[in-house]
Symmetry: C2
Subunit: 363 residues, 2 copies
């Protein structure tokens, strides 16, 4: 279904405008999208002279809610929003997408194991990968938010051989933002003085927020925060438990700050990374210089020239403390990959996940 | 309670920045605020070089949710957001506020009459008016969103004699935006070609969306939309019923587009109105040239030089059709005023409201 305003595109679009950026969003009727779509439409992400089209993917169950979202977008009179398409078929909705923000995923039901979740969501992301492969822009950039996002992104890229593997991202930016916030609070500085924060590995409780390479006011965090015990024993768990703490306070999951971190993740790819800094993203690990298994989607330090592409930063220092932890999150991702072997063309899936590593406060 | 980051203000704020704009928001843990606060913090409203402080008012019941909102704001690392204060005492939270966005109001319970609602919320807004009078910036701009917003705004301004009455607004911008959207859809043009739309009167079902003075592509709407029957018989009800239609589709009220319209209302006061155009706001009607009772908060066409102040536009054409409707919404506001006489220093309140005029989909 295409909304009525889209018909007006041809006649009413100023001739001077840039080519419309087409953004497909799955889970479009959910609470993260309810924040994100309005940010995209406002011009906050792609700039005040960039017209955009939103292509919203929902489920049969959420169809009516999708119509509601589209109505609210209409009522907001955003001048840059030139088209809204809604639907439940990824082969229709992903057409010519320049960006695909894959937020929708089945939440874990009561008694459901992580293995079950991997399988159910894996099937969704295999299907969406095939749809992207068939109909999206050949250089589409894909950001996977639905959990378990790293392995979902791996499944997606394996099912989309026409699209460069490096175009697929799993969102670890909220983890990075939370890590920066905790370091700023501990050091008593404002956030924007914290830089070079890396999240390594999986978006799960095995993730490794890296304070060894992080900087505050350009100095190593170790030199600014004297409390090394806090860094080694508390910092990581504070980052991981932030979502859970928020649910306890707030009674709902952190939709608004997740949406903000998706905006940050997009901006990191379309704006040149400040000299000497980097950002974290779950990316296809091929060519990494850290000895991490290359056929995984692994959160790594990246930098971009602002052209939508990025390179993995290769010169971070890895000490024994960090190496041990990175190994653990890598092993988890390898085990998750075995679980979904049937979805990535590698034979039968076999699941042996020793523990539940979902982040508290996430589904 | 003041959050930890606020301590860092002095040491970490760039010396070159403008004076912080202090924005108090009531109902800060609610769903409209959950959209609005992130817009304010992002710089979308006051600009990318304007530091802001958010002063968040909640209730005893929402205290913990307020802490959650503040945590999500922290995790968003907004560089312009230099301070977040949360609390439940308006005399604390409104201190030195440059803007007060009064969103919080008691929703109507089952079986509650509009008269009861007027009384309960009137007491809240009387108290908040007194608090603004006592502690806010003497030139604070106040936008009342909580319903019934016109009469709440009147109560608020009557209880704040130190603050100019013209600084108080009742939000009718969402109505204006919806009216523009409906005219655009009907005419088959893009929204930004619709201008000069006025909402007259009360934010209720007696409101008068004005197509007589509205323009499309600079031409009178009457000349562009040939279907005059639609304009006279359908247009108004489409605008009024939009919120109700949305709730039916979406299962929730239109928090996102309400937040967008609050942003629009603020921007209309801090950005010069385009030549020849105007915007709608519920303002103190003193000095209006339309013969409308002056001691009301009445939605009128306004224009601004962008200095936070505005003037009522005085030269709109009023025909019999419009005059009759404006009279009806004026009578309703006069009746509402009688209901709350005890809250504005005019003796005993006496309520005689003939019908329920709450907008569908609102509380």
């Amino acid at each position: 279904m295409r909304l009525s305003l889209s018909k007006l595109l041809q006649s009413e679009r100023p001739k001077t405008w840039a080519k419309t950026v087409r953004i497909a969003v799955s889970g479009a009727a959910g609470s993260i999208s309810n924040h994100l779509l309005f940010k995209l439409a406002s011009g906050e992400v792609f700039g005040q002279d960039q017209p955009i089209a939103l292509q919203l993917l929902g489920s049969e169950r959420s169809r009516s809610a999708l119509e509601g979202v589209a109505m609210e977008l209409e009522d907001s009179l955003y001048p840059l929003l030139r088209e809204v398409t809604i639907g439940i078929d990824p082969y229709e909705i992903f057409q010519n997408a320049d960006w695909a923000l894959l937020i929708g995923a089945k939440p874990r039901g009561p008694g459901m194991e992580r293995a079950d979740l991997l399988d159910i969501n894996g099937q969704i992301f295999a299907e969406q990968g095939k749809a992207l492969n068939a109909v999206a822009s050949p250089n589409v950039k894909v950001i996977v938010v639905g959990n378990p996002c790293n392995t979902n992104a791996l499944i997606c890229l394996k099912n989309a051989p026409r699209i460069p593997s490096k175009n697929f991202h799993a969102l670890t930016r909220l983890d990075e933002n939370r890590a920066k916030c905790q370091l700023a609070l501990k050091a008593g500085v404002f956030y924007d003085n914290v830089s070079n924060v890396t999240i390594w590995g999986n978006h799960s409780t095995t993730q490794v927020p890296d304070f060894l390479n992080a900087k505050i006011h350009g100095l190593p965090v170790n030199e600014v925060i004297a409390d090394h015990k806090w860094l080694e024993e508390e910092f990581t768990s504070r980052v991981q438990k932030r979502g859970g703490a928020l649910i306890q306070k707030w009674g709902r999951s952190s939709a608004a700050s997740t949406a903000v971190s998706i905006v940050d993740a997009i901006k990191s790819l379309i704006i040149r990374t400040p000299e000497g800094d980097w950002f974290s993203s779950g990316v296809y690990a091929k060519g990494n210089l850290y000895g991490i298994s290359e056929d995984l989607v692994f959160s790594l330090p990246c930098r971009s020239k602002g052209d939508g592409d990025y390179e993995i930063v290769g010169d971070l220092v890895i000490d024994d403390y960090l190496r041990k932890r990175i190994k653990k999150t890598e092993e988890e991702l390898l085990a998750e990959k075995k679980c979904v072997a049937h979805l990535i063309g590698e034979g039968n899936g076999f699941c042996d996940l020793p523990e539940d590593t979902m982040l508290p406060g996430e589904q």
